[in-house]
Amino acid sequence: MRPRQNIKTNSKAAKLTGRISKITTTRPAILGRKSRRPKADDASDNERENKGQENQLDEMSYLEIMRRNFETQFGQVEGVNPIVVERSEPEKNKEDENSDDNQLDKEFQDDIDADFSDLENNDSDISLLDSDFEMPSELEDSGDESDGPLIVRFDQDDRSSGPVASKADRKLFMSNKAPLLEAVPLECNRRSRNTKTAPDDEINLEHDIALQRLIKESHILAEHGNDPSSSGFSGVDLSLQPMGKTRLKILESRIENLGAKSLKGDKMPMSVRKGIDAKNTDRRTKYEKHAKEAGIILSKPDFKNQEKKKIVKRDRGLKIQSIGRSTRGGLVISKEDIAKYTTKRRK
């Protein structure tokens, strides 16, 4: 999981820099501390050394504690270099270092793992592995024995820097079309601006719609209240939102209001539907009959009769034939037509 790349892009750097616009800037160098001590020491080596020099170790650690106490009280004294002290007691410190290193490495690994998990989102990965370790010149001069603090310089951007690819960007790039450079202005922006300018209007409109709906749907709600099937109390009755059949009915009425064809209510077998329709027509005819007998003029006109009246004589086309009538099938000559001519001849 650790790509150790040594990038050789310098050869083309001159050409590329002209072409690629720099957007991110490198962060100022961060100074840190890290030992340069090689980690190659085997565990077995450590053990051997530990056994041989336990006494010395105790003494040294005692001295070390003393030094720390002193430093907490009075601050660090020039010349008393903690690393030098560490050097003088290799075993203990080696272990410390190792554990430190392990700890560090673990942290780094965690960081890197995290990077891998959310890599695609941003420019955030910190490439610790590529960072340069630098020794200050004076320390390098002084030799290995007096190993001072190391300066670690991260030339890479930090995880916090760099733009984050938005979902919209991803959508634009990963769509089926050619990727666009500029995001299309989003609708939500416009909407938010509107709400800022006139929030009261929107609230009023909402209330208005709610009221109108209530008026329109009150009969359905009332029906639901009288519905014997929903007798007794349940959680459904208590909730403000209509539930079950009522909800469906309301939904249907709204759809109809919007201009859809009525869905003719519930689904049922054809025979039942026929029965209902027959009963309806029966009722209506009975009612009309009754009204007629009683001499009551109904407000509703009888639409069946009206439909019949509507039929207008159809244009039958040109009448160019001298005999018979022309149909799609051809010229039809009736017996009378034939008779006309035949009788004439006989006369």
Binding site: P3, L16, E120
Partner: protein, 364 residues
Amino acid sequence: MSLSSNKNILVLTGHEDFRRRLVMSTLSGKAVKITQIRSEDTEPGLRDYEVSFLRLMESITNGSVIEISYTGTTILYKPGLIVGGTFTHNCPLSRSVGYYIEPVLLMAPFGKKATDITFKGITSGEKDLGVDIIRTSIFPVMQKFGIDRQELRIVKRGSMPKGGGEVKLHLPHLVLQPQTLHATKTPQITKLRGISYSTRVSPATVNRMIESARAVLKPTGCETFIYSDVARGEDSGLSPGFGIALVAETKAGWNISVEGIGAAGSVPEDLGAEIARKLLEEISVGGVLSRNQLEMGIIYMVLGKEDIGRVKIGKGSIDERFVRLLRDIKAFWGIELRIKEDDDGELIVTVRGTGFVSASKKIA
């Protein structure tokens, strides 16, 4: 079967640029006879993918005549009219769908109907352009010539060798002729983007490629987004595979792109880094048209109005393929391009369009 030796027939030799020659023949309306197709080969004649391409040509044109000799080393093609239409093309597994899509892109805008083709097979192969490159980098070239609204939907990704991928190409925009191009300034790159995809391998592969590619691209200081596309279940074709396509976007709308697919045993990190370096190399070539866009760009320019079009290309773009392209252009249209070095050390290609007009948009 008579391979008639009419004087109007253009005779070319060799198996190279087979697709392009047939496309040029269709666009120029000149019949072409290609001889000596792999005549020295142990397996002489047309390959299965070439025959499949001929089938595709037959589907999108009307009235074209194809005569193949007994050995398959000679073919006579008399072009018909480009019609387009909706159909499905099953690509053989020897080449990826890019092999078939590329020529379709050159012909479809001049057809009678919108072209809507479903290609089935390998979506990203080694030899041909992958579907991601076509969408992100070739479509923008078409848009520069006034051909818009292209769509390439990747339904399923199919890797080598078994394929099983599916893409839908939709080209609804029909034009009379391509617009004249004037692009004499090498654009600056604003964004580096990419798609890392995998089929039937661990999804971590994708992130490994992204990681290494980003590490290489980091010194450029350009903002880099590489998106992952892990095909799962039904969408992932029949073979395991992975790949990465990187695109350098410019403000002018030209996209430079490279891609690579993982071979057997290749390490995702290596692939990611290699492709990232390839992208840098491609950028360093310079010019407006990158190498994988050159053929389409030049052909559209040749087809343009009878006007001078200019485009800048890098010196590195001139290779044997480019020379062959120019030779073919001369054979079919009898025109030559003027290439002149400019102050930046890059080349300006000047083309006088042939005044081609789409047969189906012509006013009689």
